[in-house]
Amino acid sequence: MHIDERADEIKICAYCPLMCKNVDAFHRHDGTETSAPHIRNMMLQKILQEKENPKDHPPETHLEEAAEVLYKTTLGGESTAWCGESMDIRANMIAGRTDVVEHGYAPPAVEDVRHRSQREHNAYGEPHNQRFANIDSTVLNRFQDRTAPSVGLWIGCTTAYYEPEIFESLAAILDASDVAAGIVEEERCCGLPQYKLGLRDTALDLMEHNANAINNRGFETLVVDCPECYRALNDYYPHFGHDISPEIVHSSQFIQTLLEEGTLELNSTVSETVSYHDPYELSRHTAPIDRNEYDTSDIHEPPREVLDSIPGLHREELRHNRNKAFSCGGDIGVRKMHPDVAQKVGQTVLDEVVTAGADTVAVASPECKRHLSETITENDLNLEVASIPELVARTL
């Protein structure tokens, strides 16, 4: 998407009387004026206006000025959730970033992601040929050996490289439920991190590759734990002409079904007070990408219902939850370009966890797990972060 396609929406945000300024997660913690939502849009509005009324310089020269500014947001969607017009300001930012990149003004950190993604097929630049190296090989081998399973497990980059226990826990849950699942061995990054940074071409290459790889496997259901991958496969792939044949199901939905069907039984007890942190890609973004309305089909309840069925687990809701949840700052762009702000954003979520009286943050996203764990370590807090599959696997 390019800014011309978002002209009406950009104009509205550009002239907004600052109605989401205090709720924007990045701006609230950073305070710089260029991170304010209306300013980011005004920079784009100026370009659009000059396209209509040409000046003595090409309008795109302003993209250079806009370049840094457009990356000063988590894309977490707080603005949209609070906005009385439900404006999809995130789509405005992605459009602006895409134009920035295509005109050669990508900030160095974004260029770096492009190179890493092209070289190693993941935004982190971890070696592709080591993608599954951190996962317990006995578990992995079982998945690799299966012929024509109907269920597939999508691993995702963050889990593969940094949080392998999430995959191992999911595998244990599937084993306990007698579900014989396979994986997509040719799996690469889903492309959404690149798309969100404006690296459209890189993202589209990854999407095309993955779509073919998935469709060749012949799964009926593909279980996806990473919310970013979930959203990419569900919304972005079809949008870019890559229909995915298996049904895409979030891991929490899949576990919920196993529990409801009685295929999965949770035997032992955990004694933890847990707060669930809604990742923004599940809680307010599982909508088709080219629409403005706020979506109501987001995944709010399955993670909660799974947690509530864990024997002994006590759950306390965070003050800001579901579509009004605070984002945690784990987004790759902010982590790379503004690590200090990313930490402060994460700290807000952890403050809410402490206020709620929980000792564990349950997450439905490997990126949230990684980021919040690091924030806890950095700030020397006495909290644990655990993914939902891990918490469930503890009871098997």
């Binding site: 104009k11 509205i12 109605m19 205090n22 305070g31 260029t34 206006q49 000025e65 009385g84 017009e85």
Partner: protein, 488 residues
């Protein structure tokens, strides 16, 4: 004015607040001038020069602010305090360059005293964050302006802001108990947060509403309240504006203190009913609410409804009132129509503009004052342009009321001098308010836009303000130009 070099300026400020809290980028300085200011936004869009600060600085502590201001005083550098930039009156625009002190990184909630019901905060906390924090603990500030998501506590204090529930909870100047202020020379004054005193004049009231001209507010202790057990709404439709106005006056003067109290004129009423509920209705529409223990709310509501019925009011039920409350910010989100004031920019030209006059007037003059404004506006601008004005009365006192007149002008020819036209509107409307014993403004402040009218508001008071300014800010560095003081 200072002759200090840019690099020395940066160096000095970095040594006070640290490198990460000094922003040097040109973009950042430009962004600081483009908040709710219609005119600077227009100029920037057209690549015209706009006033920008030489440097933006983000203090974290009172000590930082004190050192920055002391340095500015020594060097004679202008200082503009900045909250969230939601004021459209221009007081947040650094007209004379210099140092812009952005207070948004001073945003701690220092203390909440649950027994004395007070909260002490740093000035840069956003009102939404502040209220959210209190609500989570069972309290409320009672201050909910339409800029809930875009104003800081410091900025609201600096402009004597009013929230939607002001008829019961008061304006922000009624909520302040004690303050810490860095004076234009860098010294710090701190007043005790006591409920009342007779130990000389109330210094807090000198700084509240001083628009950054008398110093920078660095901490404030405010009243807070238990979140009400009961919050009840009621909507009433009166046959005409006069009957609604009389009922509202009587309700307030009888001590039935509604929290929310809004009366719309006939045009606004017709529009609201049609657009919101799809019903054609004539008359004047009122929304009321009460906060408090249930029996108290019951009693107040019952007595108020009796007054409304006696004045011919038709009870429209609780739901319409509640619905308004639940969508209380809805009118402020931009849409296709409202961006009309900016969107048709052609060579720097917008074909629309809009603004709001807020004033408070004694009861015996308010209706007349409003009618006079409406007539003058339509006569002056109605022939040449598409122009309309509408109003609601939404903050009520024992002796008078406040009205909020929103004016719009559209279809402005491309060769029009926009700034001249804009100023002409204010020059038409504000003197009418003064003529009917009203004020220059009720809750937006005067800034650079309306400061010029302040001298005409009260007899002799502007000279007193000017003398105070001169004595506490001998080098005229603190936000020169606001309130008609110290501009060049």
């Amino acid at each position: 004015m200072s002759r200090i070099s840019q690099s020395l300026l940066y160096e000095e400020l970095r040594s006070i607040v640290g490198e990460e809290n000094v922003v040097e980028s040109e973009q950042e300085q430009v962004a600081h001038s483009m908040n709710c200011n219609w005119y600077t936004r227009q100029l920037w869009m057209d690549d015209e020069a706009i006033p920008v600060p030489a440097v933006g600085v983000y203090p974290h502590t009172t000590e930082h602010v004190s050192q920055i201001v002391a340095f500015a005083h020594r060097e004679g550098i202008p200082v503009t305090p900045f909250g969230m930039g939601s004021s459209g009156m221009g007081g947040n625009v650094p007209e004379y360059g210099g140092i812009l002190v952005d207070l948004k990184r001073m945003k701690d909630i220092v203390d909440v005293n649950e027994e004395s019901l007070t909260a002490t905060v740093q000035p840069g906390i956003g009102n939404w964050e502040y209220e959210d924090y209190l609500n989570e603990r069972g309290f409320t500030s009672g201050h909910l302006p339409a800029s809930h998501y875009s104003a800081t506590v410091g900025g609201m204090l600096a402009l004597r802001s009013a929230g939607r529930l002001s008829t019961a909870y008061g304006k922000i100047e009624d909520m302040i108990l004690g303050m810490e202020v860095v004076l234009p020379t860098g010294e710090v004054v701190k007043t005790k947060p006591v409920p009342a005193h007779a130990a000389g004049p109330d210094l807090d009231q000198l700084f509240v509403g001083s628009e950054g001209a008398f110093g920078i507010i660095t901490e404030a202790t405010l009243k807070i309240h238990h979140f009400p057990d009961e919050r009840r709404f009621r909507a009433i439709l009166f046959p005409d504006f006069e009957s609604g106005y009389t009922a509202m006056r009587k309700i307030v003067q009888k001590g039935l203190t509604p929290a929310l109290a809004r009366l719309y004129n006939e045009e606004e009423t017709a529009r609201t009913f049609k657009e919101t509920w799809g019903v054609e209705k004539e008359g004047a529409y009122v929304i009321l609410s009460w906060d408090g223990p249930e029996p108290v709310v019951d009693a107040k509501e019952r007595s108020a409804l009796e007054i409304c019925t006696a004045e011919g009011g038709e009870d429209m039920g609780a739901d319409r009132g509640r619905e308004w409350w639940e969508n209380k910010y809805a009118d402020y989100y931009p849409n296709e129509d409202s961006v009309q004031n900016y969107q048709a920019l052609r060579g720097g030209h917008s074909d629309g503009m809009a603004g709001t006059v807020t004033t408070s007037v004694p009861y015996d003059k308010a209706e007349e004052a409003y009618q006079a404004m409406e007539t003058a506006f339509e006569e002056k601008f109605g022939d040449e342009y598409t122009a309309w004005i509408h109003a609601h009365f939404s903050h009520w006192y024992n002796s008078g009321t406040m009205f909020y007149s929103r004016w719009h002008i559209r279809d402005i020819p491309a060769d029009t001098d926009m700034l001249k036209l804009y100023n002409e509107v204010w020059s038409t409307l504000v003197p009418i308010s003064l003529e009917y014993d009203g004020v220059v403004d009720h809750h937006h402040g005067t800034g650079r836009l309306l400061g010029r009218f302040l001298r005409k508001q009260d007899e002799g008071s502007h000279d007193v303000l000017a003398n105070i300014k001169e004595s506490i800010d001998p080098k005229n560095i603190m936000n020169p130009g606001v309130m008609g003081l110290g501009g060049h």
